[in-house]
């Protein structure tokens, strides 16, 4: 997690801190357990490849969404708050491949008394293939205003 970002310090066009990471099979097991998800495409290699025709088991969509949310609030700092996220699942991800989460600030405003910034984000494969585009709104603290 980076230091706290304040609303006043953010400009349209700023990049959020990118995250590059792979999801391991052990991480998928723990996420499946934490979300009570028994769908076999996420852990049963034979089922995923032979029955459903995928190249491997598939990384959970909600895990990819959670990793994007993590990148957003890691950038915003511990006093940031995710207020909105809007994402589309365009293509599947498989374990151990590198996933790249990036975002750019597209707007900032005061909404219902809260200072917020809008971010357009993308999750891509290492080769640039788009997996999950979307947008988010992150509330940030203002300088000189305590929580």
């Amino acid at each position: 997690m980076t230091d706290q970002v304040y609303y006043e310090d953010v400009s349209v066009g700023d990049q959020i801190t990118p995250a590059r990471l792979g999801v391991s099979r052990a991480q998928m097991f723990l996420f499946g357990a934490a979300t009570n998800n028994a769908h076999r495409i996420h852990y049963d290699y034979k089922w995923a490849t032979e029955r459903e025709g995928y190249p491997d088991i598939l990384v959970h969509g909600p895990l990819q969404a959670a990793l994007m949310a993590r990148a957003l609030t890691d950038w915003g700092g511990p006093r940031s708050r995710l207020a909105r996220i809007d994402l589309q699942n365009r293509a599947f991800a498989v374990p151990d491949e590198e996933l790249v989460f990036t975002g750019v600030v597209t707007g900032k405003r005061i909404e219902d008394g809260e200072a917020v910034v809008d971010v357009a984000f993308r999750e891509e494969r290492d080769n640039g293939e788009l997996l999950m585009p979307g947008s988010a709104t992150v509330a940030l603290p203002r300088r000189g205003v305590t929580a």
């Binding site: 996420f31 769908h39 049963d44 949310a69 909105r84 599947f92």
Partner: protein, 161 residues
């Protein structure tokens, strides 16, 4: 053939209590080590009464036990998918994947909060996909605390093909 679903026809209302251990397991699995989620002292120093629930955990608060005899062959649950209720008699194609989500989070949630989530199918639409026909099912979820405070809203979709 899929059928039209009337507003209010397929609704699920579930209640669950927010537990720190549950959302901390989730956050650890995500690798999201935000101190707000794990360190009560840090959370209190930042204006919270206790550790904060990661907002993306919200749909899991009302998660119910999975009974083995309620599983379909692919491991998904009869009558339900992650997004909400899905009656078997809708007779959808067997392969399912998430389409996308729009989520709004209106306030922070803490351990001990009780969340009631109302999930409703708001649309079933047949479409022509790149690799054949597919069906898009859409749900809307409204999450409230025991006092009726709005916590979150979600519009999510699933693709069956």
């Amino acid at each position: 053939m899929t059928r039209h679903v009337k507003p209010g026809e397929i609704v699920e209302v579930l209640t669950g209590e927010v537990m720190a251990r549950d959302f901390q397991r989730w956050a650890a699995a995500v690798g999201d080590l935000n101190p707000l989620y794990f360190d009560a002292e840090f959370a209190r120093a930042n204006g919270h009464r206790d550790v904060v629930m990661p907002p993306m955990f919200l749909p899991c608060v009302t998660s119910q036990p999975t009974f083995l005899d309620a599983l379909r062959p692919d491991g998904t649950r009869k009558g339900r998918v992650a997004m909400g209720p899905l009656p078997e008699d809708l007779d959808l194609p067997p392969r399912r994947m998430g389409g996308g989500d729009r989520r709004w989070f209106y306030r922070c949630v803490h351990p001990g909060d009780v969340i009631t989530s109302r999930r409703e199918i708001t649309g079933i639409e047949e479409k022509a996909g790149k690799s054949g026909p597919l069906v898009v099912v859409t749900w809307e979820t409204i999450d409230r605390t025991g006092d009726g405070d709005l916590v979150g809203r979600c519009v999510s979709s699933m693709i069956a093909r």
